[in-house]
Symmetry: C2
Subunit: 201 residues, 2 copies
DNA sequence: GTCTATAGTTGGATAGAC
DNA sequence: GTCTATCCAACTATAGAC
């Protein structure tokens, strides 16, 4: 483990930070705790990161990057309803599979809203999610041979908001069935917005 | 200020805690900061509250109680669409008027999800909001002379989730117009669920 | 590059004077 | 009831040995 190149070391420390924060919360992700989790001494962390905020910033960016990779798709669907339903289910599966990570994502956002040095993390994360949602919406419409009456950008905004709201409720009450019901209903609502008559290809 | 009865003292301290936390975040609401804000010495806080968690618990309950009082209604509406629209707008106005409080509410919820001693705060707050939403839904339907095809309890759950999601997005991007657009669209969607033909009274 | 040691803060909690 | 004084723990950050 010793004498790693800086980049590797940073990666190791960010992973350790993620592990601690996901398990025990953002406020538990102190420089000391991260060092202990990574099995290095306190000084090493301060050698790789200028201060705690830089570490947290790196952790926030890692969360964003990780969330993007996690969405898997099922088989290609036939109509808009099925396409949207599949996408929403896939996203929810990947979200609800890791409760700690989900909690951490919310905590990071709120921390960033209070701490000016972390502010970019919150906006970048939201922007990333919206872009991902927009891509999925466009794909879904294309797969179903229709398009959306409204700009996908706007729809994406709504989708992310609904998803976040449902996720927060689920974190509090733990009711997975109700969450899935809400999302299914929302997916139906979305599908209704797709113009069935319009063929893009 | 001196020699207040315990109840008054607690109220004063809870208000001080709310002021600090709303301004600077939950983690800034230390026992010391609260004492300073209230203009009392450190010992006074520990005399009124067994420990910091008890203070935070009281603060959480105060937030819940306060949120319930704040919703004001407009004039009695004619149909379900207008009734729901009015209610949603009124709620959003009261939420977006105080950004710090809104942020604080989210922070309290997340803190409660990490800290077992605060857990009841999160569930109570959510439960309270859902009950309020349910009451409003029933009122709205009654005012419009219809009822909901689905149990209002379920609808209330969805409403709170959507509202929270939109609020979180607004906290991050500050786009009030987009938030209102999302809510208006949701209100329309809700209104469509009301069965127009059914007369309750 | 990595470690130990330590400076300097801040916060929770309590004891004891008044 | 209220205050001051104090203890103890945990944290960020840095300095300097190796």
């Amino acid at each position: 483990m010793s004498r790693l190149p800086m980049a590797k070391r940073r990666e190791q420390l960010v992973n350790a930070a993620l592990a601690v924060a996901s398990r025990d919360g953002v406020e538990a992700a102190t420089v000391r705790a991260v060092a202990a989790e990574a099995g290095v001494s306190l000084g090493v962390v301060h050698y790789c990161f200028q201060d705690k905020n830089e570490l947290l910033r790196a952790m926030g960016e890692a969360i964003t990057a990780r969330n993007v990779e996690r969405v898997e798709f099922g088989s290609p669907p036939l109509d808009a309803r099925a396409a949207v339903g599949n996408a929403v289910t896939a996203i929810w599966d990947s979200m609800s599979a890791r409760r700690g990570d989900q909690l951490l994502a919310f905590e990071m956002t709120l921390s960033a809203l209070r701490n000016p040095e972390l502010a970019p993390v919150a906006t970048a994360q939201l922007e990333h999610e919206r872009r991902l949602a927009e891509d999925l919406l466009v794909e879904a419409a294309a797969a179903a041979g229709t398009d959306w009456g409204v700009p996908p950008r706007h729809l994406a905004r709504t989708c992310v908001a609904v998803l976040d709201g449902v996720a927060l409720a689920w974190l509090v009450d733990g009711d997975d069935r109700a969450a899935r019901a809400d999302l299914a209903q929302f997916a139906d609502h979305l599908a209704q917005l797709a113009r069935p008559g319009v063929q893009t290809a």
